[in-house]
């Protein structure tokens, strides 16, 4: 008897490990603490004031956004809602640089992208500090990276239910980033 149970347990563990490869749990209620830190603390709640500036949050504390299908998917929605498409189109770039290639003017690390969004960059990238909730910024960061295949394929979002501008991120080819540096002028002009 016992070895039958053992066999089935073994199968179960195998199936489980096959599935743990990605995190499918959902945390739709962002940590209020992070919010408090971002907004420099509030006096009306128990949360203490004066968190460190968020671009210094170590990437580790936010890396879970990248392996969580729900967060990347939310990032994709917010990419629309906060009108990133306005300049970057669907990643192909327009007024703003393309996001689905391997060129990263200000770095491809989550913290770099986070900083780009919160602080803004020269030549037109506005600062979204105070306009977008912190957790949502990290979700957008995860999605932006998924466009160039930098997040786990298991967490990458599928196509949207509208006109297809590009293949779904699940099919996005991985673009090993050329860190830092500015792209060759012809890319910027050719946009």
């Amino acid at each position: 008897m016992w070895w039958r149970i053992a066999t089935i347990t073994l199968l179960f563990v195998t199936a489980a490990s096959a599935l743990t490869y990605w995190r499918g749990s959902r945390d739709y209620r962002p940590s209020l603490l992070a919010e408090a830190n971002r907004s420099g603390g509030i006096t009306m709640s128990a949360v203490t004031a004066g968190g460190q500036p968020s671009q210094q949050l170590s990437p580790e504390t936010n890396s879970h956004y990248e392996v969580n299908g729900f967060d990347v998917n939310e990032g994709k929605r917010l990419y629309q809602w906060f009108n990133c498409v306005g300049c970057h189109a669907n990643g192909g770039g327009d007024i703003g640089p393309p996001l689905m290639d391997d060129k990263w003017i200000y770095g491809s690390e989550p913290r770099n992208i986070y900083q780009t969004i919160t602080e803004g960059r020269p030549n037109g990238m506005p600062s979204f500090r105070g306009k977008i909730a912190d957790a949502q910024i990290w979700q957008i960061v995860a999605y932006v990276r998924s466009m160039s295949g930098l997040v786990a394929i298991q967490a990458a979002p599928g196509r949207n239910d509208d006109i297809q501008a590009k293949p779904p991120e699940t099919m996005a080819p991985t673009q090993p980033p050329k860190k830092g540096g500015t792209p060759a002028p012809d890319e910027r002009s050719s946009q």
Binding site: E35, S39, G41, T43, M44, V47, W81, G130
Partner: protein, 338 residues
């Protein structure tokens, strides 16, 4: 009939007006038609059920009386014939009842179709996860306006609702008024309603649509035509300008902070998208916030802004922790949006 219904349906239904029941308190002809059809079905079915159980009792009693330990040979031809008669009677009755049911359903269906004719006004309702965008279509752009989660109609007139979905499948349902109509992405469904009784009727999304399917409520307010016109006129106006400094500061926060990124307040620079988040131009004219998740009073509104997930987990709106003064100013401003 209805008193019987009250007894039947027990404490949950008994003697409360504005009950979401489809049996009591119907507010329009569509619901009335379906109501009597239901009672026809209900009483016939109840009778059938009792008969079947009775027959089972009778058969058991008869079988037990004839008990022997040896298996019976095939029964006597005479009895076999009697059994055949019984069974075929049963089947015949079943057939008759079903014919009645099919006929009645068809008749009522025709009646419902005829009720849909000659609508006097059109309203476009867009289902969102998890709230309702309501657009009053007028001849001129100035006559059009958008609101959310609260549907006003003049009582007694036939209204055509154009149903659209911006994301997943929803279903438009106001039990006291009419049956459901699914709201399907990529399809242009329509529902026609007529509310004959003034009052507030509660509806909700009937097709499972995600986290907050449970609290995707819709309030239908049927009022006399002149009251309705007054309401329309007031809704067309842009938001009232803030008076006190605190309110002015509140508006500024709304426009420059996160709020304005999604919400719209006509007459201000907060020009988010009225199809991402409910339009707030006349927020305080509505009775609830979060599509019926909480009453629209200052306390709940504040709690909602700070942590919507505390009231409606999974909703798209993120928590917003302003510092205390900004927060109070924002609230004060929102309170002015009559």
């Amino acid at each position: 009939m209805n008193r019987a219904a009250a007894i039947l349906a027990g404490a949950a239904l008994a003697g409360c007006s504005r009950n979401p029941s489809i049996l009591l308190d119907t507010a329009g002809p569509h619901a009335n038609e379906i109501q009597w059809l239901f009672w026809l079905f209900f009483w016939v079915c109840a009778a059938v059920w009792l008969c079947v159980i009775g027959l089972l009792g009778f058969a058991t009693w008869r079988g037990l009386r004839r008990w022997r330990d040896t298996p019976a040979p095939a029964t006597a031809p005479a009895e076999e014939r009697r059994l055949v008669a019984w069974v075929s009677t049963g089947v015949g009755l079943t057939f008759a009842i079903l014919t009645l049911f099919v006929g009645a359903s068809y008749a009522v269906d025709r009646k419902l179709i005829s009720l849909d004719s000659g609508p006097t006004m059109e309203i476009q309702i867009t289902g969102h996860q998890w709230w309702w965008e309501i657009q009053y279509l007028g001849e001129t752009p100035s006559a059009q306006f958008t609101t959310a989660n609260e549907l006003h109609v003049p009582s007694g007139s036939t209204v055509k609702l154009k149903l659209r979905s911006s994301d997943v499948i929803h279903s438009f349902w106001i039990p006291n008024v009419a049956g459901k109509r699914d709201i399907i992405p990529g399809r242009e469904n329509e529902a026609t309603i007529r509310v004959d009784r003034d009052g507030v009727w509660h509806g909700r999304c009937a097709e499972f649509c995600g986290y907050q399917h449970a609290f995707m409520g819709l309030t239908l307010i049927a009022e006399t035509p002149d009251k309705f016109e007054k309401w329309k006129a007031s809704q067309r106006l842009p938001a009232a300008a803030p008076q006190s400094d605190e309110e002015k500061r509140g508006q500024e926060i709304f426009e420059t902070g996160p709020c304005g990124a999604c919400h719209v307040i006509r007459g201000t620079s907060a020009d988010g998208h009225s199809n991402y988040a409910p339009e707030l131009t006349h927020l305080k004219s509505r009775s609830s916030i979060g599509a019926g998740a909480a009453p629209n009073v200052k306390g709940y509104l504040g709690a909602w802004i700070l942590d919507p997930h505390g009231i409606k987990p999974g909703v798209h709106m993120p928590p917003n922790l302003q510092n205390a003064d900004d927060f109070q100013a924002l609230l004060a401003y929102l309170e002015t949006l009559k």
